[in-house]
């Protein structure tokens, strides 16, 4: 079992929480994990990414080689595009459709979607809308995790365990909210995968 995952977004969107839940699930499975994060200056509203590698075999590099990622999980559509050279030919892109526009030259959203759809395996999902509707806007990142979960080769229950243990100290209500968000994303992906 091997999954090389690129998580991307804009500083402050919460990609590291997604990584933490996947990491927790993989740790419970007894898998090897490497997860390179971005801290410091780039966190201030700039593009951020994390390379997350989980595998039953030992992992050498903290960085994912180009053309090797099994999945790009992005909280922002243009930020998904940035990492396509890392995606393997059979790899999946799971991306939020809500643009985060904090630069003047942000491209037309439609052209971003069109370029994303050129890839064979892509799920575009408005996680902000889903989160708002069923849980809370703050759970948008967990909706996205749910949408990515069917492609991560770890059982959905492992992620739910991960969510429980990570959000436990914030109270049962927060745990339930995130579980709901996770399931909504999961169902969306199952329905929309080609």
């Amino acid at each position: 079992m091997k999954r090389d995952i690129i998580l991307s977004g804009v500083g402050g969107q919460g990609i590291l929480s997604i990584a933490t839940v996947i990491g927790e699930a993989a740790l419970k499975e007894g898998l090897n994990i490497k997860q390179a994060e971005v801290h410091g200056m780039s966190q201030r509203g700039g593009d951020v990414q994390s390379n997350l590698r989980i595998s039953s075999a030992p992992i050498c590099s903290d960085l994912i080689p180009q053309g090797a990622a099994d999945i790009i999980i992005s909280l922002e559509p243009m930020e998904a595009l940035r990492y396509v050279p890392f995606l393997s030919r059979e790899g999946w892109i799971i991306a939020n459709t809500t643009p985060f526009v904090n630069i003047d030259n942000y491209p037309e959203a439609e052209s971003v979607y069109a370029e994303l759809r050129k890839h064979d395996n892509v799920i575009l999902i408005d996680v902000d809308a889903i989160a708002k509707e069923i849980a809370s806007p703050r759970a948008a990142n967990i909706v996205l995790l749910g949408a990515a979960a069917p492609f991560l080769e770890l059982g959905a229950e492992k992620f739910e365990e991960g969510i429980r243990s990570i959000f436990a100290r914030k109270g049962e209500q927060i745990v339930e909210m995130n579980l709901k968000a996770f399931r909504a994303g999961y169902e969306y992906a199952q329905k929309h995968r080609r």
């Binding site: 804009v10 500083g11 990491g23 927790e24 740790l27 090897n32 994990i33 490497k34 997860q35 390179a36 994060e37 971005v38 801290h39 410091g40 200056m41 780039s42 966190q43 201030r44 509203g45 700039g46 593009d47 390379n51 992992i59 050498c60 590099s61 903290d62 960085l63 994912i64 080689p65 180009q66 053309g67 090797a68 243009m78 930020e79 595009l81 940035r82 396509v84 050279p85 890392f86 995606l87 904090n102 630069i103 003047d104 030259n105 942000y106 491209p107 052209s111 971003v112 370029e115």
Partner: protein, 531 residues
């Protein structure tokens, strides 16, 4: 009992140090080293044991305090980013002369590719320069084990040890098996007290010993478990892989590397192992993260008959981090087939947070300077407010190193520049700005110093700042006329007052200090959440 934890390299190092009987960590925040000290601050064992873990004013005070703790026999850790080594260099280099008593380990976290730094200097140079043994881990687990070994080494040989990590080690998580803590050392004074007094007579004696002992350190490196010679069938090339460069090489050979590989993680350079590889292989590839330190040592000035490949020869990139991809050419492997990069994805540079006080400070400063002082120059410094150089502000002319804003403004004023404005943060001011301000006061330099005070060390995530609540007293104590120490609150509604204050203080012939003070909105959010 061993337990498995998912830890950042920084955290593995911190935990390893705590378990190695640490008595104190001394540090100034700096990416990518900050999480080491933060982890110790949060660690229950650290609290139980009363391990010192308060932030120091700068890397030099941290290094000196750690040397003092080592003097009395306790184990001390110093952590900093690579450029912090420049700040503490005097103490660091001379600590090789005093030697250590209690284990003393200095961690320098280098930042190749400059993710959050102004240069990519390689701290291994400092190890060689000071003749201090240097350790460089290749994995998070090795980091955990190595820090304990480094403390043991330091005590065994009575010498400080430099541990060099890089961003990808510091800020990457992996599963680490951690053990139990050993007790702290008891108070115990140095057995050779003379070498702690670095007067010429003592130093001349000590220097010869240090040179002799370096032969011993090299022998230790020859048989270190962290340095491994793995033979391979294809002797056309031998690979010397330092620290995490080893991972990028091995990533490309999932079935095992066909070439002999010397994994190097402990210096001084084990020359016997290098000679063995040179005698058995047709060429050498030297893969090292950062600068070509080892490649230069092996290559020397005169060409050897043995082809040596690396960052100097161009087989590996001269600058930036190594990756699993950019080492492939040097290994004789074809580039991987990849999808072309998107043409429409635009760069997204970092920016000051919305609602940040630095924004209001720059807005006011820009308005005053654009309207009244077309010839103004703004000398800035290291921190979030360096982002004032980007759109929409374009407000600063320089950013060099910690504290340079005030002294460069002074030098420019000495050269006839007017207005000469310095913009520095509160934490950077107490790190290295205060002495420069004293120079300016002593000469009555015509400069305007803006200390943009957000009550924290913001860029690194909101650590305590050494002078919080006392900036006016510090400036007055250094001799700034209290009438020209002006505090404003950087908010849009105060814009007119801020502009007027800036204008008045620029017109004042002499040193003036303006302190726009409002809490960092990131730390304010955290404080509000706690309430």
């Amino acid at each position: 009992m061993m337990k498995k934890e998912l830890l950042l390299g920084d955290e593995a190092l911190a935990w390893g140090a705590v378990n190695a009987g640490l008595s104190g960590v001394f540090a100034y925040p700096g990416t990518p080293s900050t999480e080491i000290t933060e982890f110790i601050q949060m660690h229950p064992v650290a609290r139980e044991r009363g391990i010192h873990c308060r932030w120091s004013a700068n890397e030099k005070t941290a290094m000196e305090a750690a040397l003092g703790m080592s003097f009395v026999g306790k184990r001390a850790l110093v952590c900093m980013k690579h450029v912090g080594m420049n700040v503490c260099a005097d103490a660091f280099v001379n600590s090789a002369m005093t030697g250590a008593n209690g284990g003393l380990v200095v961690v320098a976290a280098d930042d190749p590719s400059m993710h959050s730094s102004q240069n990519e200097q390689d701290s291994r140079f400092y190890g060689k320069f000071a003749m201090i043994p240097t350790f460089e881990p290749s994995s998070q687990q090795e980091t955990y084990e190595m820090i304990g070994a480094a403390f043991d080494f330091s005590e065994k040989h009575q010498i400080p040890v430099l541990m060099r990590i890089t961003t990808r080690m510091a800020h990457s998580r992996a599963v680490v098996e951690v053990g139990e803590p050993r007790p702290q050392n008891e108070l115990k004074y140095p057995e050779k007290p003379r070498q702690w007094i670095l007067m010429p007579g003592n130093s001349r004696v000590r220097y010869k010993t240090l040179i002799e002992e370096n032969k011993l350190f090299e022998q230790e490196a020859e048989r270190s478990p962290f340095n491994r010679y793995c033979d391979g069938p294809d002797k056309s090339m031998g690979i010397i892989a330092c620290g995490i460069a080893y991972n990028y090489i091995m990533e490309n050979f999932p079935e095992g590397c066909p070439f002999p590989v010397l994994k190097l993680s402990q210096y001084p350079l084990p020359t016997a192992l290098v000679r063995r590889m040179a005698s058995e292989c047709g060429s050498l590839l030297i893969a090292e993260e950062g600068q070509p330190v080892i490649e230069e040592m092996i290559r020397g000035v005169l060409d050897t008959p043995l082809p040596i490949k690396g960052r100097l020869s161009g087989e590996l990139p001269r600058t930036g981090e190594l990756t699993p991809d950019n080492v492939r050419g040097a290994l004789g492997l074809p580039a991987r087939e990849v999808a072309p990069a998107s043409q429409i994805a635009q760069p997204r540079p970092p920016a000051l947070c919305m609602g940040c006080g630095h924004r209001d400070m720059y807005t006011a400063l820009n308005e005053v300077l654009h309207e009244h002082y077309k010839t103004a120059k703004v000398f800035s410094d290291i921190g979030c407010y360096t982002l004032g150089s980007l759109a929409p502000f374009h407000a600063i002319d320089t950013c060099v190193e910690m504290g340079a804003s005030i002294t460069m403004a002074k030098g420019a004023a000495d050269g006839g520049q007017f207005p000469s404005v310095a913009v520095i943060g509160d934490s950077t001011f107490t790190h290295s700005g205060m002495t420069g301000l004293l120079d300016a006061v002593n000469e009555g330099s015509n400069i305007t110093v803006v200390i943009s005070d957000n009550l924290t060390t913001g860029m690194t995530g909101g650590q305590d700042s050494a002078g919080t609540g006392r900036l006016e007293q510090i400036c007055a104590g250094l001799g700034v006329d209290p009438a020209h120490i002006r505090v404003v609150v950087p908010l849009p509604k105060n814009m007119e007052e801020i502009r007027r204050t800036i204008r008045e203080e620029i017109e004042h012939k002499g040193v003036s200090v303006i302190i726009p003070r409002r809490e960092c909105i990131q730390t304010a959010k955290r404080h509000n959440a706690k309430k």
